[in-house]
Amino acid sequence: MTVSVQETDFDCGAEVAVLSAGDDEAGAVASFVGLVRGGEILAMTLEHYPGMTEQALQKIVDQARQRWEVRRVRVIHRVGRLAPGDQIVFVGVSSRHRGDAFAACEFIMDYLKTQAPFWKKEETPSGGRWVDARESDEDAARRWSGGN
C-alpha cells in the first residue's frame, strides 16, 4: 500500500525500514516528517475528502515516478485532531541514488501541501479558524511545473 490517510499515528523508523527491506538496489531512502508547530496554536483538526484525497495522493506519487527513478514510495497523512508536536505527514522514497530520492520526496511534499484535498482548522486561545491557503506553498509547488 503506497498511500494512507488515517487518524492513527505512524512509526517513521518502521516505514523507512520497509522502503529498503529486501531491495538490494535501494541505495538511498529520503524521508520527511511534518509536525504540528506550537506557538499560538493549541491544536488543529485536519479534514479530508475520503476517496478523492487518496486518489489525489496516488496521482502525486505517480507523477513523481514519471519524473525520477524511484523504487518505493510511502505517503501517510493523518486527519482528525492533532496537538503541537504530533506527527502530521510522512513521505518516504527509496531509489538507487540520493538525488532521485530527495527530489521525489520534496516534490511529493510540495504538491501534497497544495494539491491534495486537506483542510486545516486551528484552535487558538481566541477560538477556532479555518486556515487560508498560503501563497508560499503555491509558490513551492509551482517551481516544479516548469518541466511539464
Binding site: G34, L46, E47, Y49, G51, M52, Q55, H77, I88, V89, M109, L112, K113, T114, Q115, A116, P117, F118, W119, K120, K121, W130, V131, D132, A133, R134
Partner: protein
C-alpha cells in the same frame, strides 16, 4: 434528476451539513450552474470566496458537466498538512 452534494471544511460548517441530495432544476447542466442555483438558496455559498468544485472526486472547472447521480463536492481552497 438528482445529484449528491458534499461540503467540506468551513463551507460544511457554514452550511450546517456535510452532504445532501439536490434535485437538478431543468436547465442546470454544469457545476457552475449548480453552484449558482445553490447560491440562490444559501448565503454560505453566495459569499464563499474561491469556491472549488469536484465532480465524482475529480477537481473540475465550473463549466464541467453535471448529470444525474453525480457526486458534486464544494469546498474552499485546500490547506493540507
Amino acid at each position: 434528476m438528482s445529484v449528491k452534494v458534499l461540503y467540506f471544511a468551513g463551507l460544511r460548517e457554514a452550511m450546517g451539513r456535510s452532504a445532501e441530495s439536490v434535485d437538478l432544476p431543468a436547465g442546470v447542466t454544469t457545476a457552475g450552474g449548480l453552484r449558482d442555483c445553490l447560491a440562490g438558496q444559501h448565503e454560505a455559498i453566495r459569499t464563499a470566496k474561491n469556491l472549488r468544485v469536484a465532480v465524482n472526486q475529480q477537481m473540475v472547472g465550473l463549466d464541467a458537466p453535471v448529470a444525474d447521480g453525480d457526486e458534486v463536492a464544494f469546498f474552499p481552497p485546500v490547506t493540507g498538512g
